[in-house]
């Protein structure tokens, strides 16, 4: 059993927190934008309140698991605030960061820079060796695989610890090269984007596009209903990161996706995305 701090901004963060909790880990979580879907120990999405609580948390944190997939600046700003707080960390704590919208290398560089400039008073000297990337997509299936990646500086002990942790969740870890979006999320986000373009261009209705993909190709979900499960804000985050990293038009997000996200239609968890939910 480990002490796990889980932070994030969507269904992926919520689902991993729920899974870690079910599998017997002690979970403290700060889940934002989950819209009521937070029945865990710490239901506060207000991070200032959460930080107060974190200060009084008696156990040293072993794993910080992050799943911020919306705007990348939110993730980085959050870490900046988090490490200003006075809370207990294990000496060899590990940060598991999602590489859905930022490579581990970029996250490393950013955080190391920040530590060097502003957090001298804390002993994070080797913290950059303890960062591992992880990726998955909601809905997280029972068993199955999870994508892991190491940064340029990550040490093998950190990778082993991360592998053990995900194995304890019933997942088989598979290590791939550090990249934005991983394998499954990049493929699925691209399918969703392509379906969103088809919808926007009036090729067919959302229901017909999803029905066609399920019946014509045997996909587990239609791309648009899948987007509603993952969160449209999260899909947009992945696509924007792919677009920026590769600098290719291929990944430019469909305008309809951006419009729905700004309208607050993020999918199942807000009651409306490509579809409406009661």
């Amino acid at each position: 059993m480990s002490n796990v701090l889980i932070i994030g901004d969507g269904p992926l963060a919520y689902e991993i927190a729920e899974l870690a909790s079910q599998k017997g880990h002690r979970v403290i979580s700060n889940l934002m934008f989950t819209h009521g879907k937070v029945p865990l120990d710490n239901p506060s999405w207000d991070f200032t309140l959460f930080f107060e609580e974190l200060k009084t948390y008696s156990e040293p944190i072993d794993f910080i698991i992050e799943a911020f997939i919306g705007p990348v600046m939110l993730k980085n700003a959050y870490f900046m605030d988090l490490f200003k707080q006075d809370f207990r960390l294990s000496p060899d704590f590990i940060i598991l960061t999602t590489f859905l919208n930022q490579t581990v290398a970029e996250f490393d560089g950013w955080l190391s820079d920040y530590f060097a400039k502003f957090a001298r008073d804390r002993s994070y000297a080797n913290a950059e060796r303890n960062r591992i990337g992880w990726a998955a997509l909601p809905p997280i299936r029972e068993g199955g695989v999870i994508e892991l990646t190491t940064g340029i500086h990550s040490n093998s002990g950190a990778l082993e610890a991360a592998e053990q942790f995900f194995t304890s969740l019933g997942k088989e870890p598979v290590v791939i090269k550090d990249c934005v979006g991983g394998v499954l999320p990049r493929v699925v986000a691209s399918l969703i984007n392509n379906a969103a373009y088809a919808l926007m261009e009036g090729v067919a209705s959302a229901a017909d596009i999803d029905a066609a993909m399920k019946l014509g190709t045997n996909y587990p979900f239609g791309p648009l209903e899948w987007a509603d499960k993952i969160g449209l804000d999260q899909v947009l985050g992945i696509l924007e990161a792919l677009c920026e990293t590769h600098g290719e038009d291929r990944y430019r997000p469909a305008p309809i996706l951006r419009q729905l996200v700004f309208a607050g239609h993020w999918g199942e968890r807000t009651g409306r995305g490509f579809y409406e939910y009661a």
Partner: protein
């Protein structure tokens, strides 16, 4: 013509798709007139279709009587003017624009203008096929998937000048043939072959970038996402040449939209002759029994 009055369906082309369409039409209770260019091809096709129907009866999926009457309902012809007696026509001849266009020009004069002419094209523009007829409003797309008796989906395509009524009747016809119709505009690849492109193209990019090997990518997509098959396994099944040609065709048709840019790596594989299961080697190797 209203859906209730349709009793006899004309099917043009007796290949895999045309044969499958004739089979489900007969099994759905319609009289079928199956056309092809010579009797030898037609006899072979008829033998195949009756074989499939008989097997369904042997397996107990349909009764002996149902099988016999379905087979009896199929009549073959090499004489195109006989199509005059059909109430609904589905065309499934090879995907060549000039071939289809000359056929539609003939059908246009043979059949009354209220008869719907549905083309089972997967890559051509329905609008372009319709454009050569005097009554283009009755020409619609009706894209079946292979194997026709098993795959539930039918894409009903309204060309730029198709009548709304003709589209609705074709939707109704698809339902009566036991299918689930979806309505789509006349765009390259329609829904499935367009929306599915990144499933292959992103997987190929991941391989090109060295993110993981092809077997790992397949596994992450299958076991992580719940897909039945990974993209590389699926390419092997479809045939790398066929899959590559589909990507090139969609890419060209969308005037080089970057989302559909084909993969150089896949082109090299096609050039090498490793086309997938059918050649015993594609992304994976296949033994004799697996082809």
């Amino acid at each position: 013509m209203t859906i209730e009055r349709i009793k006899k369906i004309g099917v043009l082309g007796s290949g895999t798709m045309g044969g499958g369409i004739a089979q489900i039409a007969a099994q759905s209770g319609y009289d079928v007139l199956l056309y092809d260019i010579n009797t030898e091809i037609l006899q072979k096709a008829f033998g195949k279709i009756s074989g499939f129907i008989n097997r369904a009866a042997e397996k107990g999926k349909i009764t002996r009587e149902e099988a016999d009457s379905a087979i009896e309902r199929i009549i073959t012809t090499t004489h195109l003017p006989n199509m005059a007696g059909c109430d609904f026509i589905i065309e499934a001849v090879p995907e060549k624009l000039d071939l289809k266009q000359s056929l539609y020009q003939e059908l246009d004069t043979i059949t009354p203008p209220e008869i719907i002419l549905a083309t089972n094209t997967s890559t051509l523009s329905v609008t372009q096929i319709a454009s050569v007829t005097k009554h283009p409003g009755r020409v619609v797309g009706m894209h079946f998937f292979n194997p026709v008796p098993l795959m539930k989906l039918v894409e009903v395509i309204g060309g730029a000048i198709s009548d709304e009524k003709a589209i609705q009747t074709t939707v109704e016809m698809a339902k009566r043939l036991g299918k689930t119709p979806v309505v789509t505009k006349d765009v390259p690849g329609f829904i499935v072959n367009r929306v599915a492109r990144p499933f292959y193209l992103e997987a190929l990019r991941l391989l090109e970038e060295g993110v993981a090997d092809h077997a790992t990518i397949d596994r992450l997509i299958r076991e992580g996402g719940g897909f039945n098959m990974g993209p590389f396994e699926l390419m092997d099944l479809i045939g790398l040449d066929v899959n590559f040609a589909a990507s090139v065709s969609v890419y060209e048709a969308y005037f080089h939209e970057p989302r559909y840019r084909p993969s150089l790596l896949q082109q090299r594989m096609v050039e090498s002759g490793r086309l997938g299961r059918k050649t015993g080697q594609g992304w994976y190797e296949y033994g004799e029994g697996e082809k």
